[in-house]
Amino acid sequence: MYGGYNTISMGTGRKEFNPKKARPGLEHYIKEAGQGTLAQIGGAANVDEGVIGNFMAARFNNQANLPGFLPMIDEGLSMKPGVSVEGACGSGGLALQAGIRSVLSGSAEVALSLGVEVQNTYKAIYGADILAGAGWYPKRKAGHAYFFPGQFSDRAGAYFEKYGKDYARQGMSRWYANAIENARLDPTAQEYHNTTPDPYTTCLKMEPNGKFFVDNLNVLDCSKVSDGASAIAVLSEEGLKRIGIDKSEAVEVVCYVQAQRDITKDPSDLTELEAIKYAVQKAMAELGITAKDLATVELHDCFSIAGILTVEALGLAEKGKGAQFVSDGHTSRTGFIPMNTTGGLIGWGHPTGGTGVHQAVTIWQQLTGRAGDAQINIPADRPYGMTINMGGDDVTISVIIYKRG
């Protein structure tokens, strides 16, 4: 992969965001991200096909038929093949995987994978209805007003009960603080302007209030409502030659796994992300590595508790010890395995359909030394980066392992 580009993740927290003023729509974000990548790969003429990952433009923006926006990015994409893929918040990951499969099948040497979501068209209380589409609709009636925060609040509650609330909330608050610290280093991050002096204490002291939100998460435990898009080119070696870029400037996809869990079934254990665990373990097993060989991970922290549970799914900590692992600083940017180095979903932002692609862009930036102020050290003996993208409550999972080409 090469030529990643992120728009700003727009929404509350950004100084330029004003919910009362008219804002750019899908077209703007698709165009900016698409053109951002095309400019790095010698233009649209080099692209064989396009993939758009998106979750709910049909409701957020009353817009379907998204492949029709590919030629809008650049006339050079006109009459070329295009497709859109949907797997809720895992749509971006599917856009990457679709690009990878096209390249591996030989139908494309260069695929443009783009993820986008524009969600600030609705207030959060109505946006919650739309995002609930990532769950099984017959469960909606019994679900919380804020459906997905409710789902992960239940997970957090189960974790509290098993392992202790104060202990868990310390880990979750550290997760939040890491996200903010990292986001402050990336000008495109939604929390880039965040100036809270002590994010850890702020989060820890904010007791969850089930009366108006959910029982076991506060608002800082949650990713925000975001507008944004990300794009990256998926290329074969042939494709790299076509655009005239040396392998070392790109990242190699060394392993990819996609897994689905039955959306109609409740998780068997609320304190475990079963599908994520399956997918990451399968990917690492295929490569013959463990999580300790990874230099960095971009994981799907739609909620801080999801960050903790994913740390455990990776095998970095035993069940129940993920919060300790995070509290001990191992996932911070100076820790053993820096995670979500530009803020992740909580810090950088979560334009749902765009997130999976944003994760890949961040790994590409980190492994090729392009991460600017957010750059971390990539140890020579641990050259791998991983992205974990999740749609719904541990339902649509994409895991990719990368190393510098």
């Binding site: 804020y146 089930g210 108006f212 939100f213």
Partner: protein, 445 residues
């Protein structure tokens, strides 16, 4: 008759006005919430929104819809629980829309005052005119088919007079909301000499359900809120007139408005507040209160002049501020009305000169917005005013004099038995006027 039965049929008079619309909103929501309780499911609830203007009633329904939506959006978590048995209401927007319909479906807009004849509770928020109030309430009392209880939102007329002149037999109570009623926490509750205990107890229960802070006031014209505000406003006007010789009129108005807002850490300057309430309304309230006051003349020739020139202040139906002493652009004062030339004079033309005359502001001074909601509010105020106490700039001197007068007014309200104690006076200013601290304070010397 139980609380929820009495609220089955209510009329708000002046329902489309500034205060009436807020009272209508809160009452409609309270009635809808009662109607949603399982034990009340078979009962009907009627809220007559009576006003003289069809146009205003038309706008009122739009206002109600928007406000109820906001309330429903904030309360979606409990509303989903309330509608748990409604299988057809699945998504938040469905629950919210259903609730809005429920509230609006209780409200009957009308221009016919006769609707009140069937109401157990009549809320009065009509013009602050004693003769009009006597006539309307008295007529309803005579023609009513039930025994109505009257709740009056008067901010200045003694309740005992209303009670006796309209022949309400003690079934009346002062229930004075602050503007806007949906936002301001305060309600002043005022019993007439004859108000019966059942009416008083109902009033307290109703206020509690509306999550209002109740401050009892004794039955003196203006009560606590206007008792302070009108005298405070008159002080500001007198100060501006005094400074006119030195600074010029518009400059003096600017200076006093600035001192009363910035230096005293209040949400608005005094002239902006007069505009907010309405220049004409202030003049009128002073006129209602003045005959009852001993040893003072609560009257301003300047307000008379403004009204005669048609400069009224007040608000548009949208809530936007109309021009008065100050001219507003997107809510910000940009010019000041010159009563001699009868035109607005842009503030930017003289602000720097007046600011220089006022002198350097205290270094620790912060705007009201950042002080009032700060956990360290008391500490900030103490430090700011301690610094101001040592200063001799024109601004600091005016601020100290202003606070001293506010303090005197507060103490007068207690010594003249309008308020039971200093705390009640301060609570009114904190919750009805959103001040960061009460008039009875030790901050400024």
């Amino acid at each position: 008759m139980k609380y929820e039965e009495r609220l089955q049929n209510v009329t708000v008079l002046g329902a489309a006005g500034k205060m009436g619309s807020g009272i209508l909103l809160l009452t409609a929501v309270e009635m809808a919430n009662l109607s949603l309780q399982p034990e009340n499911k078979d009962k009907t609830y009627v809220l007559n929104a009576m006003d003289v203007s069809d146009k205003a009633l038309f706008d009122l329904m739009g206002y109600l819809r928007d406000q109820v939506r906001k309330i429903a959006e904030k309360n979606t978590v409990p509303l989903r629980k309330l509608y748990a048995d409604r299988e057809d209401l699945i998504e938040n927007f469905q629950v919210i829309d259903e609730y809005i319909f429920r509230v609006l479906n209780i409200v009957r807009p009308t221009t016919a005052v006769e609707v009140a004849y069937g109401s157990h509770i009549v809320f009065e928020a009509i013009k602050e005119d004693p003769a009009l109030k006597n006539k309307v309430l008295g007529s309803i009392k005579q023609n009513s088919k039930v025994e109505p209880w009257f709740f009056t939102n008067t901010s200045s007329i003694p309740i005992t007079e209303l009670d006796e002149n309209a022949g309400l037999d003690g079934k009346v109570i002062g229930f004075h909301f602050y503007n806007p009623p949906a936002v301001q926490k305060l309600v002043e509750v005022i019993r007439s000499k004859h108000t019966t205990d059942d009416v008083y107890e109902f009033a307290l229960q109703y206020a509690k359900n509306l999550k209002k802070v109740v401050v009892p006031s004794n039955d003196y014209a203006g009560f606590i809120g206007n008792g302070h505000f009108m005298r405070d406003a008159l002080h500001g006007i007198n100060e501006a007139e005094r400074l006119t010789a030195e600074l010029g009129y518009v400059q003096a108005v600017y200076a006093i408005n600035k001192v009363s807002q910035d230096y005293l850490v209040r949400p608005m300057g005094i002239f902006q507040l007069i505009d907010y309430v309405g220049v004409e309304v202030c003049k009128y309230i002073m006129g209602v209160m003045n005959p009852y006051l001993e040893n003072e003349d609560l009257h301003s020739a300047l307000l008379d002049k403004m009204v005669s020139q048609g400069v009224m202040g007040g608000q548009y139906a949208s809530g936007a501020q109309k021009d008065g002493f100050l001219k507003y652009d997107k809510g910000r004062p940009v010019a000041i009305w010159d009563v001699e030339k009868q035109e607005y004079v842009a503030i930017e033309g003289f602000a720097a000169d007046v600011d220089a005359w006022l002198g350097a502001a205290p270094a620790k001074l912060q705007p009201w917005k950042s002080v009032n909601f700060s956990k360290a509010k008391n500490q900030i105020l103490e430090e700011t005013f301690a610094e101001m106490n040592t200063m001799t700039t024109h601004g600091a001197i005016l601020a100290k004099a202003y606070n001293k007068r506010s303090n005197e007014i507060g103490n007068l309200l207690v010594s003249s038995n309008v308020a039971a104690n200093a705390e009640d006076v301060n609570t009114v200013m904190l919750t009805g006027f959103y001040h960061a601290y009460g008039p009875i304070n030790e901050y400024l010397k």
